[in-house]
């Protein structure tokens, strides 16, 4: 009896490891930026290229920073959720148009609605590199002191919003 228990035990442990491994998404690379200050940038606004925005301007606010592009299909998937969130007004969303033609980005916002308070334009992807962006969409939650508290890679889902982002927003806004 004992002879069979040991291989069975090993087998169960192995299955456990494999089951957890199956659920992990290799695309979700843990960001080293969490808990660090949001990297600085000074980029032109999509709505008015003559004006610029920098994370320093948003000190004192808890805000979501959503990196998107008109060429990104997954961004369209999360777009209605962001619109909902903007309508509720719980947390301001700022966008960054990553490696995109400003004209195309504006066309997307005109057609599907604009959830962003402002969108900055990162034409060459430099600011994106500083934020460790490697696939749009990516969403960062930045606190009142300009510290990145959370990062989500890929389209935001209702579940992520309800379980992770919104509770954290509430906590940070206090």
């Amino acid at each position: 009896m004992k002879r069979f228990l040991i291989p069975l035990g090993i087998f169960i442990v192995l299955v456990g490891f494999l089951a957890v491994g199956l659920k992990l998404d290799p695309r979700e690379v843990p960001s080293p930026l969490i808990g660090k200050p949001a990297p600085d940038f000074k980029l032109a606004l999509l709505s008015d290229p003559a004006r610029q925005l920098s994370p320093a301007d948003l000190r004192g606010k808890v805000w979501l920073f959503n990196v998107w592009a008109s060429w990104c299909a997954a961004c369209r998937q999360e777009h209605p959720l962001l619109l909902d969130l903007a309508r509720q007004g719980g947390v301001p969303i700022y966008g960054m148009d990553y490696k995109d033609q400003p004209g195309d980005a504006q066309a997307v916002l005109d057609r599907y609605g604009n959830p962003y308070v402002e969108t900055v334009v990162d034409l060459d992807g430099r600011a994106g590199i500083n934020y460790g962006v490697y696939g749009v969409p990516e969403t960062y939650l930045i606190d009142k002191n300009g510290i990145i508290r959370y990062k989500h890679i890929g389209p935001v889902t209702q579940e992520i919003l309800d379980k992770k982002i919104l509770p954290l927003v509430k906590e940070l806004q206090q």
Partner: protein
Amino acid sequence: MRPWIMVFALWLPFAAMAGEAKPVAEDPVTEQRMIALSENLRCLVCQNESLAGSRAELAQDLRQEIREQMRAGKSDAQVIEYLTQRYGDFVLYKPPVKPLTWLLWFGPFVLLIGAAGSLYAYIKRRGNRLAEVSLSQEEKKRVEALLGNGHGEKRRPE
């Protein structure tokens, strides 16, 4: 006249190639360094490709960034630090040895030593058990009979 045209035609593709390869020719030393470094870095878009080999747009941007930083006089270690600050240790194909990666680095050796240890214990135990086996008179006779002393196989007398 004709050989002239042929020489010209033969030379044409080289002229075209020279045009394409210009960025390398501009600074071959930096290019060499950049490629050597980025071969050990992971492209985050196509995770099984190195940064040197990937055609993903982000990889091209990052290669350009590395080139510029090298030209600005940054050391390899500084460039790697720049990348790990943004993308984490995940970009390194060879992760650094630190408490978090001890299991990764030393786990296989621990397993090897453990396996060697249990193999040794098993062989020793088995040896002890084998030594205990002794034959009775009758069994010895049967062994001899079976081995046959050159007469071939014999059946045990009933």
